[in-house]
């Protein structure tokens, strides 16, 4: 029994055990106070599918040796542009959803490339620079949202007819299309199979990517640039590939997120969206040098479940809401914890 526990501890690491313990404690409290478990689980599953792709976007940069992509906002902004174009064209349902992704791709590739060129010039400080690239591109895009030539009356301000609104409702466009796809209900329990399936397919594609020739090169150059060089690989190029892939996943991620949320949030909203994703993959056990799909799945599941059930459960036990505070403590604390282990190897 003890040995078995030691083995689990060694495989998962202490931080994960603590968080798993915390999540379990919340479920027990929920059960004890007579809350229905079904809706809690269902809501958690939706949150997992909703955020998973953004977390997945961290994998390529870590594998490429760039570290955590704190500038994920770059990809998010490209996704938003794609979604807006799709809305402007009046595309609805799945057509609108996939068109949004399709339109965002060229932007994501170009922006990712430019971002990578910059990151290649600041090796060793990618995460710091990335954070500020994210912040400043959000600010620049604030001007774009005001001046962009969108004409759809449901998107622009009612008065003046110029400039996009802060929050756009997706109901008539592609809101909840994935959430509703293959939604299986058993009593109070709901399983958004379509949403989770989409996330699963993307995970599989990223996994396959790292088995291809170029994917192996990206990984090798990330682990040991000098080894890669001796094998005829240009580490700068593989880093670029990693950053572009991450940016593209960020763009897809925000469209998945938005359809699930039902709204498209512009202006300052994307500023901090990368941080929960960073926290989630770290909670899953990734380090600054090693990230696997399993870290993405485990981390997203733990982090989002925690956030989803913390609010209803704690508000039942103590009056008031600590979920937002808990979210900030956990996400920022986890990032801090990971960054203090620069080498990334000894992280528990």
């Amino acid at each position: 029994m003890v040995e078995r526990f030691q083995e689990i501890k060694a495989r998962l690491g202490v931080p994960r055990l603590i968080i798993i313990g915390f999540v379990l404690a919340l479920f027990v409290t929920a059960f004890a106070t007579g809350m229905p478990i079904g809706p809690l689980v269902s809501a958690s599953l939706v949150r997992i599918g909703m955020n998973g792709t953004l977390v997945l976007a961290m994998v390529p940069t870590i594998a490429a040796g760039v570290g955590l992509n704190f500038g994920l906002s770059v990809g998010i902004l490209c996704g938003l542009v794609g979604a807006l174009i799709s809305m402007e064209m009046g595309l609805r349902g799945f057509t609108g959803f996939f068109a949004g992704i399709l339109f965002s791709l060229p932007f994501a590739v170009i922006a990712g490339w430019a971002y990578a060129v910059l990151l290649n010039k600041v090796k060793g400080q990618e995460m710091m620079v990335g954070t500020y690239v994210g912040f400043s591109s959000v600010a620049v895009m604030c001007i774009f949202w005001l001046l962009a030539p969108f004409r759809n009356p449901e998107m622009v301000w009612a008065i003046g007819g110029q400039g996009l609104r802060y929050t756009l409702t997706l109901d008539k466009y592609f809101g909840k299309v994935l959430n509703k796809l293959l939604l299986v209900s058993i009593g109070q329990w709901e399983f958004p199979l379509g949403l989770l399936g989409f996330f699963g397919i993307l995970c599989l594609l990223v996994h396959l990517f790292f088995k291809t020739k170029v994917g192996m090169a990206v990984k090798a150059a990330g682990a040991n640039p000098r080894f890669a060089q001796a094998s005829g690989i240009d580490p700068d190029r593989t880093r670029t590939v990693g950053v572009i892939l991450s940016t593209v996943l960020g763009a897809i991620g925000i469209i998945v997120y938005a359809q699930s949320y039902g709204f498209l949030q512009l202006y300052m909203a994307p500023q901090m969206m990368g941080f929960p994703a960073v926290a989630a993959i770290l909670i899953g056990g990734a380090t600054l040098r090693d990230a696997r799909i399993s870290h993405v799945v485990l981390g997203t599941a733990l982090f989002q479940t925690l956030l989803t059930i913390a609010l209803p459960v704690t508000s039942r036990v103590i009056e008031g809401d600590i979920s937002e505070v808990a979210r900030l403590i956990i996400s920022n604390g986890m990032i801090l914890y990971a960054l203090t282990r620069r080498d990334g190897r000894e992280i528990a």
């Binding site: 396959l208 088995k211 291809t212 020739k213 170029v214 192996m216 090169a217 090798a220 682990a223 040991n224 000098r226 080894f227 060089q229 001796a230 094998s231 005829g232 690989i233 090693d290």
Partner: protein
């Protein structure tokens, strides 16, 4: 006359591996004592002991005693050594580039002038007495007989002058009695070196005891009053300066009976009629191992050794041709020019490289054995890929082919492991090296560069690795260019051995050439000059 410094019966082992065996050395005041020996002879370990470096005490200390001015002393830290008046001039300069010569000489020993604040708050608040400091520096520089303005900043001084500032700093310390120079002339030009040698003669005349570590034998012969030769951790010779001659020292330094095993015969012996690789005027900018104007012709099917002392550029050759460090010149393979600074092209043209930096360049430590073996060849030759997609870079790894090849390699090269999925980090040095060799072999190269292939692996594994190189050469007809600091192993398996000195080829020796010839060539003397 009493000795200023005596070290008696110094024995030191690292983890059961004895690196110094009963070394005795004694230096008189006013005398220059030279310590010579090959790389790994134990010179640096001896100096680490003298300076009480932590690396010695963390590994179980040493046996023997150190006597300064007739008194037995315990030196447990570099500060103890400093207090006893033992100083060291480092190989790398420890100078602040933005500070002036004076400031550097007086660094951390500044002279102060008391003022009101310092009377209340203590010595740290004294103002600097720049004039006095400059005067002291001037005096130290004059003692060396060099004419450097003490007000100049370090940045921008020629390298040789930096060396003098470094020395001036040591002799400015008032209690300095014993001064150690570790390869002081390695970075100097010839004119600077001459100036330097004159300076240390003056220092000795002023009464300092000087311990001079070098492997430039001609310098040693010129200045030393006494010479001690170290080989494999033992004193193999001790002679007065008047009897020291370059060839004698060289023989003592290298001297080692080498058993050359009978190597399997070839169908056709390599000859100058069939040149596979011609290197003309190659310069490689590899820090610490620079090559400049290197020329060599490599015969098809031979094992050629590249020897020479550390820092003279032998390692730069392979790294340069493989495109890992900036290089210029002409490299012809089969008469065709190889584009330089392009690792991919070098690999495509049939070169493979086993790096001297096994853990840094040679391996992906956290990847499995099979991934390491298959990696380069899948990137360069598209081997081990499932060729279903037309787009080459998106072809997926063929796990089955990789596994099959890895299992074969593990068997053929006798890699001791738990299986092809074991991460290479957990393998022993020798087995890691075999993985590196297997990775090179997967490329089916025509020319294999093996840089220091036996460095840091145990004796048994060494001979296995050497056997593998011979097998690659004899069975697969691979031309092997092997670089090694261990002359003995070069002489064991090579057909010819090229000696590099200061970035250039000095000459090519047969493995049966005498120790004297090797010693001299490694000290930069051509055969014709031997008389």
């Amino acid at each position: 006359m009493a000795y200023a410094l005596e070290m008696r019966g110094i024995t030191k082992s690292y983890f059961g591996n004895t690196v110094l065996k009963g070394v005795d050395i004694a230096v008189k005041s006013g005398e220059i004592h030279a310590l010579v020996g090959e790389n790994g002879a134990g010179k640096s370990t001896l100096m680490n002991i003298l300076f009480g470096m932590p690396v010695i005490h963390n590994t179980g200390g040493f046996e023997g005693e150190i006597i300064v001015d007739g008194q037995k002393v315990e030196i447990t830290s570099p500060i103890d050594a400093m207090n006893l008046g033992i100083g060291m001039v480092h190989q790398e300069f420890m100078l602040l580039p933005g500070f002036t010569v004076t400031e550097n000489i007086k660094l951390n020993r500044e002279l102060g002038r008391p003022n009101i604040v310092s009377r209340i708050l203590g010595k740290k608040f004294e103002l600097l007495d720049m004039d006095q400091m400059a005067k002291d520096s001037r005096q130290a520089l004059d003692k060396l007989g060099v004419d450097i303005d003490e007000w100049l900043p370090i940045a921008g001084l020629p390298v040789g002058y930096m060396q003098f500032v470094e020395i001036a700093r040591e002799i400015d310390k008032s209690n300095m009695r014993i001064l150690v120079f570790d390869e002081p002339t390695a970075v100097l030009t010839e004119a600077e070196a001459e100036l330097f040698l004159r300076a240390i003669k003056r220092l000795a005349e002023s009464g300092l005891a000087i311990l001079f570590i070098s492997h430039r034998l001609d310098e040693v012969v010129g200045v030393a009053h006494e010479v001690t030769v170290l080989r494999d951790g033992e004193v193999v010779g001790h002679l007065p300066g008047s009897e020291a001659r370059v060839d004698k020292l060289a023989e003592l330094m290298v001297g080692r009976k080498v058993e050359r095993p009978a190597l399997p015969p070839r169908k056709k012996e390599p000859s100058d009629d069939d040149i596979i690789l011609e290197i003309r005027d190659l310069s490689v900018d590899m820090p610490g191992e620079r090559l400049s104007g290197f020329n060599l012709k490599v015969r098809r099917g031979e094992i050629i050794g590249i020897g020479g002392l550390a820092g003279h550029g032998k390692v730069g050759l392979a790294n340069g041709i493989m495109g890992l460090y900036p290089s210029s010149g002409t490299v012809l393979k089969d008469g065709e020019e190889l584009p330089l600074n392009n690792p991919k092209e070098a690999l495509r043209r049939g070169f493979a490289f086993v790096s001297e930096d096994r853990r840094g360049v040679g391996l992906l430590l956290d990847e499995s054995i099979e991934n390491n073996i298959a990696f380069t060849s899948s990137q360069i030759q598209n081997r081990f890929l499932r060729q279903r997609l037309p787009l080459e870079s998106l072809q997926v790894r063929d796990n089955q082919a990789v596994r099959q090849y890895a299992l074969e390699a593990i068997k053929n090269l006798d890699i001791r492991c738990q299986g092809p999925e074991q991460p290479v980090r957990r393998l022993s040095g020798g087995n890691q090296q075999k993985v590196c060799l297997a990775r090179a072999l997967a490329l089916s190269p025509e020319i294999l560069f093996a840089s220091e292939p036996t460095r840091g692996i145990d004796v048994g594994a060494k001979s296995l690795v050497l056997d593998l190189l011979v097998r690659f050469n004899r069975e697969l007809g691979m031309t092997v260019i092997m670089t090694s600091s261990e002359l003995a192993e070069l002489r064991m398996i090579c057909d010819r051995i090229a000696i590099v000195y200061q970035g250039r080829l000095v000459g090519i020796l047969s493995p049966d050439a005498s120790d004297v010839e090797y010693g001299l060539m490694m000290a930069g003397k051509k055969r014709a000059e031997v008389s």
